[in-house]
């Protein structure tokens, strides 16, 4: 008897919890195209920050996409072109022009999004598949075959 009451109460509680976790959500797609690699100059490009929350970073040998989320507590850092660094306005984390942390409370470099070229040659970004480099762990940024960057 008591087990039945307890059982149903627990069931109600679990139903209550599940109620807060909808099955589908209406959020922007994490996969999008951002043009051709030749569209970008060397260095950091902030033109997609407002729309997709990413920065396109082009170096001599590769192109990668930084996900514009501070690894401390998730604010969007600002690109300070004059100081050649990213600076988070919330708690002061600083990252160099490749998103590697060097000051403030950030525990690791900013994550990079999955990139690949489609048949047309356009860059396709997926911000749901992120590459990380936590301190003391394996550097996923070098995983070219898994889509961490596009070699030029």
């Amino acid at each position: 008897m008591w087990a039945a009451i307890a059982g149903s109460l627990i069931t109600y509680f679990l139903m209550f919890v599940k109620f807060f976790l909808p099955r589908s959500i209406l959020e922007p797609s994490s996969v999008f195209k951002i043009g051709f690699p030749s569209d970008y100059a060397l260095g950091v490009d902030t033109k997609w920050q407002q729309q997709y929350r990413i920065w396109v970073d082009k170096t001599a040998d590769r192109l990668f996409v930084i996900y514009a989320r501070c690894t401390h507590l998730g604010c969007t850092p600002d690109w300070k072109a004059s100081e050649n660094k990213f600076k988070c306005p919330c708690h002061g984390s600083g990252y160099d022009n490749e998103g590697i942390n060097f000051e403030g409370p950030a525990p690791r470099p900013m994550d990079r999004a999955h990139v690949e070229l489609d048949a047309e040659g356009q860059i396709v970004v997926d911000t749901n598949r992120l590459f990380k480099w936590p301190k003391g762990e394996r550097d996923e940024f070098e995983d070219k075959d898994r889509g961490a960057y596009i070699p030029l």
């Binding site: 807060f20 976790l21 959500i25 959020e27 507590l73 998730g74 306005p89 919330c90």
Partner: protein
């Protein structure tokens, strides 16, 4: 009977007359009784304190000639005496209690009142929330005052809650038999902070948005229920099914998060907090009233002892 009438008839007639006069009589009696009562009632209206309506609201009659009765008017007033009428003399000293618990409660009342008024103009949707704040600030009569009252009372309530807790620690009022009430108080502290936090997002401005971004990102690291916390990934937590997702109603701080925060802020948490507050105040009385220092003697009493 002399004229040889049918006795039955007379009897019937007699009965008939009787019933007639009886009915009229009763009606007349009733009428006079009613008018008498009306006169009496009318008399009482000259003194509204004698009406049943008045007596149902104010339990004790206030005979102004009796000083004890006059004091009862103050002591039995819920607004003036939320605390029990009789308490330890030393507990009334403000430098002992600081009145912090009471101030916190009164601030809660202020917040409930101003909050309900703000709800008349505020829509918890992405398109309108911030516009409603500007509207309240610039176009609604006294809107700015109302919003600032709500804001400052909220800040103050957090501060007074901490000060109340600090006082209880200093006076050792968390000790037996008040351990349970201390725990209830800790729950109320958490609820107060949650009320403050959920209210932060509602203006839908940059400050609130990033505060909630930071706050809910901490929930990522929740053990077992957060997708970046200990044992979280092992238990199958992702950004789309963990505790942060449940709080925001999505993986980003968006329309669902605003609505959820609004409902928790205006209905969910105040309701739960009210229940805990009721228990908290009730326990104060059951645990022996406001805790006071060891009984202190008045100077007059000391003199009386010295004399003997």
């Amino acid at each position: 009977m002399a004229e040889g009438e049918d006795p039955k008839e007379t009897k019937q007639l007699g009965e008939g007359e009787k019933t007639q006069t009886g009915l009229v009589g009763r009606l007349r009696e009733g009428g006079t009784a009613l008018s008498k009562r009306a006169v009496e009632e009318a008399k009482t209206y000259k003194d509204p304190q004698q009406t049943q309506l008045w007596k149902s609201i104010f339990r004790v009659s206030h005979d102004r000639s009796d000083p004890r009765n006059r004091s009862l008017a103050i002591l039995s007033n819920v607004f003036l005496h939320l605390h029990p009428a009789k308490i330890n003399r030393d507990a009334t000293r403000y430098n002992f209690t600081w009145g912090m618990g009471g101030i916190t409660f009164y601030l809660f009342i202020v917040l409930t009142f101003t909050g309900v008024l703000l709800m008349f103009y505020y829509h918890p949707s992405k398109g309108q929330a911030f516009r409603d704040i500007l509207y309240l600030e610039h176009d609604v009569p006294f809107g700015k005052l109302l919003r600032n009252m709500h804001r400052w009372a909220a800040h103050l309530m957090v501060i007074t809650t901490w000060l109340h807790m600090f006082r209880v620690v200093l006076t050792g009022s968390y000790k037996k038999p008040r351990e349970f009430n201390w725990s209830v108080g800790v729950v109320l502290l958490v609820l107060t902070l949650l009320l403050s936090f959920t209210g932060y997002l509602l203006p839908d401005d940059q400050l609130g948005f990033w505060a909630v971004t930071v706050g809910t990102n901490m929930a990522r690291a929740t053990p077992m229920f957060g997708h970046e916390g200990p044992f979280g990934p092992q238990l199958g937590m992702t950004p789309f099914n963990d505790v942060r997702f449940g709080l925001l109603g999505g993986s980003i701080v968006d329309a669902n998060a605003l609505l959820r925060s609004y409902i928790w802020h205006c209905i969910g948490i105040p309701l739960v907090a009210s229940i805990f507050m009721a228990v908290h105040f009730w326990r104060i009385r059951k645990d022996g009233g406001i805790s006071g220092p060891a009984p202190v003697m008045l100077e007059s009493e000391m003199k009386a002892i010295k004399k003997t």
